[in-house]
Symmetry: D2
């Protein structure tokens, strides 16, 4: 497999650090005339899986609750395509926190098909901003506790 | 051409009553693995053309301005497919008001290709509701003046 | 509830005739700046549910198999919006065959939220065409057997 | 502005090397409930602009013609978000070839609003593959001539 800049350990180690997954099935409307999943679609899957992941670690109330003062915004996104993906394939989209910044997190993504083969991988930075001012808002220690739950353990 | 329930006059008369158009080009990501424009796409074109049409007749400030108290919501939508549409075809999407209700309008749509052949037609009801209460808000006479600009003249 | 032209019996009877459902969850990317599910999205759900339904009744091999000579194309589509739908709501999309033509079927759709309240309903014609000629291809009696499995029983 | 790994020269130099643009207008259906353009949308714009760019430099017949034996596939994609983008903003999407590989190209993207402010930037690798075998196909010297038309001149 080609080298991917943000996978700094070997692939198997990187893969073993994921412990959250969300499954999707490729829709017909997500294919294109070349016969496979269109290249814009993984980012929709990343968003869907990311939000489920954030709920899972306890960020729902803070960011998507009715009285939320902060929202998460995407600062960057990337995707590396490894295998062609086709209509109606079921994919497990894995998500993990790779790094925690002052008011941002670096999230990593891995999509495996039903044969557990990697189809695409990705990453992206999420920044917490104030709904009112639009400025970034540093993590509280409570946030950090939640976000570090799935951080890879480094000895 | 098959009979379409909301085209009550003959097709040429119905077509001649349009006097607003907005052009779109079919995106690659809007095709599907059967090789043509996916069936969900016309509704995106209708929305894009509808909003340009509403701006054109002067409803922008009221509905999309920063101090808007009302918004337009879609109550129903339909589309009849006449010709296959392919990647990178340029379509002119025509829009007209077909009928004005108490707080709603019935909009008609026609998509012509560059050979002026009809590719799909459609219609849908738009209702003006209050952002605060969610209830429908009757047209003012000023609204009616704007909306009736493109109404077909019935002798 | 407003009267919907293609629901010719009373709503409860019409609703009781569905016996296939497919569930979806509203994606964040499917909302719009008015805060709810965008009006173009139900047609994506209809397509997803329709294909699952067609598989369920045994049309997969014929239409989506590797040696398929026919494909189903959408001839028309419509949707009536009953209730606002929001991010992350789970919807059950019900599908049934309402009528069988010579080479087409009229499919009906019903979307219920988790409180079993109708959010939107719809219908659309699907036509079987030849991949090669693009012409409509009449149902075989085997097709009709499959398609009539969920037809409402009329005494 | 934050440092972006693939912009190796200073931003103004990098920006000055683009000489192709394609304009888009943000659709209502491309916004989300946070009120701005959804993060998955730039990749659709990149695709639309990329194809126009490829046509512009003369790759249409080879890749999208009726007798094409090769197709371009996306190997990776990334986007860095610089400014919030809103409904109905007009964006100019600039595209250039940054580097030419054996059978691939590295394309760069820049989106400017009407005030010529950068809203997002991106890049991605496109690989030419055989439709039949799925294997990568090296550029001919004719291809290289076309692709190098917009390469930044390095003294």
């Amino acid at each position: 497999m080609k080298r991917i800049s943000y996978i700094t350990s070997d692939f198997e180690t990187w893969k073993s650090e994921f412990n959250f997954k969300h499954s999707v099935v490729v829709r017909f409307s997500e294919t294109d005339m070349f016969g496979h999943m269109n290249n814009t679609v993984p980012f929709t899957y990343f968003e869907e899986a990311r939000i489920q992941f954030l709920y899972h670690i306890g960020m729902r109330e803070k960011w998507f609750g009715s009285a939320n003062s902060c929202i998460p915004v995407v600062a960057d996104l990337q995707c590396d395509f490894i295998r062609q993906v086709y209509f109606e394939q079921k994919l497990n989209i894995y998500v993990k926190v790779n790094q925690i910044g002052r008011s941002s997190i670096d999230l990593h993504y891995l999509a495996l098909n039903e044969q557990n083969e990697p189809c695409f991988v990705g990453r992206g930075t999420l920044v917490q901003i104030s709904k009112e001012t639009g400025k970034s808002v540093p993590w509280t220690s409570e946030d950090k506790g939640k976000l570090s739950q799935t951080l890879p353990v480094i000895d």
